[in-house]
Amino acid sequence: MNVLFATVRFEYSRVMTAGRMTWWFVLAAFPVVIAGLIRLFPLNHAKELDTHFVWSGAMYLLVPCITCAMGVLLSAGPAIATELEQRSWVYLATRPNGIFWLLLGKYLVAVAWASTAAIAGLTIGVWFTGQETIVQIWLGMAGLSVLSSMAYAALFMLVGAIAPQRAMLFCVVWTAGVEGFVSLIPAMINRLTVQYRLRALFVDWVQPGDAVQDNPVFAPSLAEGPWYLQILWLVTLTVVFFATAQVIAHKREFTAAAESDI
């Protein structure tokens, strides 16, 4: 455990730079700014809609979906690539279980970095909702933010292990294609997406109203079963993604010895 603490502490000190902290504030400000704009410039037909449905839906999209995914995209996606590019990989890979601890440390720091930015943004942004259900929305979104950050960090780490040189690009493509589109397809395949589980938890915890459950587009793409089953699924997906990333990182020859270094 000493090694894990050392790795987390070291990685954490590396993200506490001015540049990385600026990005953290930008991420945290994102849901605040958008929620403020929604409050300032409401749509004309919004008055006809259930405001709890509108605000909880907006916060779900802004915080666990966009802020968390963006946060871990910036931190977990290029985790392996940055070590390879600056050629520091070999120093860590030649330590006992160095690759394992490195990836685990980077993963935990990425989750903490993204989820704290999301929860900070949520804490301020949720005041713009003006809803009586503000506590319910905050609690639901905070829980979803942690779960979303955990699952997406593991997923992006896997993508980064498979294609380190194009990690960010492939993470964006995967998120848009699979998490954005495939998760809405009412078929077996959407059950393997993170979004499918997060949406079910959102509906269960925040209770956005019948407008979601009765919607002919969204209803088939909502997972059935109790909340703990959805969490079990998310944890399973997270473990599978992260373990696969570890296996790939251990199997591949991520040496800095390019052909020019023979």
Partner: protein, 322 residues
């Protein structure tokens, strides 16, 4: 150290070949080394770094097997505790201090935080970095970075140090100091593999070496052992005199040379290169020719007896020139 550890070979390569796609990294190397210090010598691109990456388990051989201290180095935490590696490139985190970097790498060996900082401080002092160890690495000169890399390699007191061009970027004083650090480790019973393309760097640390070129192992052993291999090879003699044409024809008439070549330098001076196995006969005849044909020999030298000469000979054999 237990008896089994003492008797285990340091390194064992069995028909190891490493390909990068179609590019050959190392080619069919078989080698067993006992514990000790070895220089890995070869020109740039000869396969030194590939060999070291195979030793540290960063690369898998395409064919054959590699054993270090009797174990497979690939994903082997137990072995990583016994190896210290200083790569040939920098790859340091520039935003943190050298002390923090070395301490963190020690903590990755399971050393407690306080103990790691103490030990890291001692190692930074050993490599002459006490004055700069708390400054961020981006502030370091190339020599200071090189010293920091050496400190991280020795900090956990490994049995085997693997060093890839460890003295590059160091000034003469730094080279001497780091050479002394390596010698001290050898004297303390540690094993060491030092890769370099600079011969005197290796000669200053050890007289046992491996010569590698084109991914192939040309020779291994001490300088004397390799000289014995070359015993029957022709010796090259360079001569400058007032009548090189006459001298070359005399050498050929008496059958005393394997080859003779006449060269002209940029300044216009001529030089005769003679490759001969009959050095004694040649030495007997030359004074007679000088007297009889009124030759005036201005300069005569053979390739010196250094590792450089040995290396040149082995490279010529490898290229089929001898």
């Amino acid at each position: 150290m237990t008896e089994s550890l003492r008797t285990t070979s340091l390194i064992q390569f069995k028909s190891v070949t490493k390909l990068y796609g179609k590019v050959l990294g190392v080619n069919d190397i078989s080698l067993t080394l006992s514990r000790g210090a070895y220089g890995l010598l070869g020109p740039n691109g000869s396969g030194k770094s590939t060999l070291l990456n195979l030793l540290t388990g960063q690369l898998l051989p395409t064919r054959g097997s590699v054993r270090v201290l009797g174990q497979d180095p690939r994903n082997n935490p137990g072995l990583m505790r016994q190896i210290g590696y200083c790569p040939g490139f920098e790859g340091l985190y520039t935003s943190i201090s050298g002390l923090d970097w070395v301490a963190f790498l020690l903590e990755m060996h399971g050393v407690g935080r306080r103990q790691a900082r103490e030990r890291a401080g001692d190692c930074m002092a050993l490599v002459g970095m006490t004055h700069g160890m708390n400054r961020p690495i981006f502030d370091y000169s190339r020599g200071m970075r090189q010293r920091t890399k050496i400190a991280q390699a020795i900090a956990h007191d490994p049995q085997l140090l693997i060093l890839d061009e460890p003295l590059s970027g160091l000034d003469p004083v730094g080279r001497a100091e780091m050479t002394e650090v390596f010698r001290q480790r050898i004297a303390d019973g540690g094993s060491l593999i030092l890769a370099s393309h600079v011969l005197h760097e290796i000669e200053a640390v050890t007289d046992s070496f491996l010569l590698i070129s084109g991914g192939r192992l040309l020779a291994s052993g001490t300088a004397n052992e390799v000289h014995e291999l070359l015993f029957d090879l022709p010796v090259e003699i360079q001569i400058r005199c007032n009548n090189l044409q006459r001298l070359s024809s005399l050498i050929m008439e008496h059958g005393l040379a394997d080859s003779v070549s006449l060269e002209r330098s940029q300044s216009g001076a001529e030089l005769l290169r003679v490759a001969t196995r009959q050095t004694a006969e040649f030495a007997d005849q030359l004074p007679n020719w000088i007297t009889k044909y009124d030759l005036c020999v201005n300069e005569m030298q053979t390739a010196d007896d250094s590792l450089q000469a040995l290396f040149n000979s082995l490279m010529k054999i490898h290229r089929g020139e001898l």
